[in-house]
Symmetry: C2
Subunit: 252 residues, 2 copies
Amino acid sequence: MTGSLAILGLGPGGPAQRTPEVDAALAGATDLIGYLPYVERIPPRPGLRRHPTDNRVELDRARHALSLAQSGARVAVVSGGDPGVFAMASAVFEAIDHGDPAWRALDIRVLPGISAMFAAAARIGAPLGHDFCALSLSDNLKPWPLVEQRLAAAATAGFVIALYNPISRARPWQLGAALDLLRQHLPGTVPVIFATAVTRPDERIAITDLAKAEASSADMRTLVMIGTAATRLVTRGEGVAPWVYAPRSVTA
Amino acid sequence: MTGSLAILGLGPGGPAQRTPEVDAALAGATDLIGYLPYVERIPPRPGLRRHPTDNRVELDRARHALSLAQSGARVAVVSGGDPGVFAMASAVFEAIDHGDPAWRALDIRVLPGISAMFAAAARIGAPLGHDFCALSLSDNLKPWPLVEQRLAAAATAGFVIALYNPISRARPWQLGAALDLLRQHLPGTVPVIFATAVTRPDERIAITDLAKAEASSADMRTLVMIGTAATRLVTRGEGVAPWVYAPRSVTA
């Protein structure tokens, strides 16, 4: 019996933003592995074993998935958004890199998904329509000074910035510090977007500017986007949120 | 009669990587607008008018789409990959920003797609698994010195770099210049990936390193990814391409 491992992106929320190839892999899986809220998105069915786990155990989860695949299971490792963006794909290849050499012969596929930042951007216009970067604010796996250096480099060079993992109970001050740092490099008028639980029933999107942006607008499910001095708002009248977009042309 | 405008992402290629909400919008459209190769991906059907256009006319195309929607059509503007990433969404909002104020009242939606960079990354592992940026090498709409400044900033700060629009007949030397510049800031051992026509029948993926990378490996349909000093290759034996991934942990 030959197992397989599919590392899947479920997209931001509902099945309307999930690709057919991901649905097919889910339908053929014998074992479902991932962080609890993602596993819970997939309805139970006979023949599908579910292995929800806590956050912050990515490597253990990856090794478990690889062992199951090695023993013949058809394993689906699920992430929200895209599995290659601050999610499980890196953890699986890291586990392979440092694990049982036999794992390198396994049938492993990565199936992309709609990432949180593109889903969030689509909700308000085209804020990532020019050069941009994606940066995790978590300092669990990299030193905070490196986060600061990257924020400064991105802002100074004119990249729109998408911030992943902006805040959590264990990391309460980092987003505030990041906004303070960005205020040193960018005008206060630069648009800032807090997009929370995008495409889900409790979706909440707030558009403000860097001068007024506050870390308390974000929670664990928020994607924060920081525009540039070129970012434009298109107003649409009373009570309707403006569109936000990055012009295609940039003058130096 | 009230028209609408959907700005759609078709994903990298086939329908297996296209979302159901995009398929639904295509099924309900009366008019299909976009760059010829993207329009050609959608089969003709009665009741669907097709308006393929040349490249480099994004603003004209956007205005045409808005006028049709204004006159009652259900318009689908199609892009490959994600419409918010160096594609039609920015052009549409730019046209609205500087166009007929009545366009601001139109029913406009952006429907995300699987971007070329995530499709390419998924084919070889998880090369974008840590902080990364997406940068267009085209100097049609921004000055070349700004491209150079952004490349240097991204490389120096340790972002993985995804290069869009690397080369074309009208821009033959830019990718070579970019690789030369990156060699000044990054070790020659940094992995470089040329991913061409990803998920399509003529898909071609080449993995090399910065010292050996040559612009001639790219064409108009290539996504180029430049790793960092931390990027790892996981070898898989003779004749099998290695996996490439960005480790989750970074030490300063």
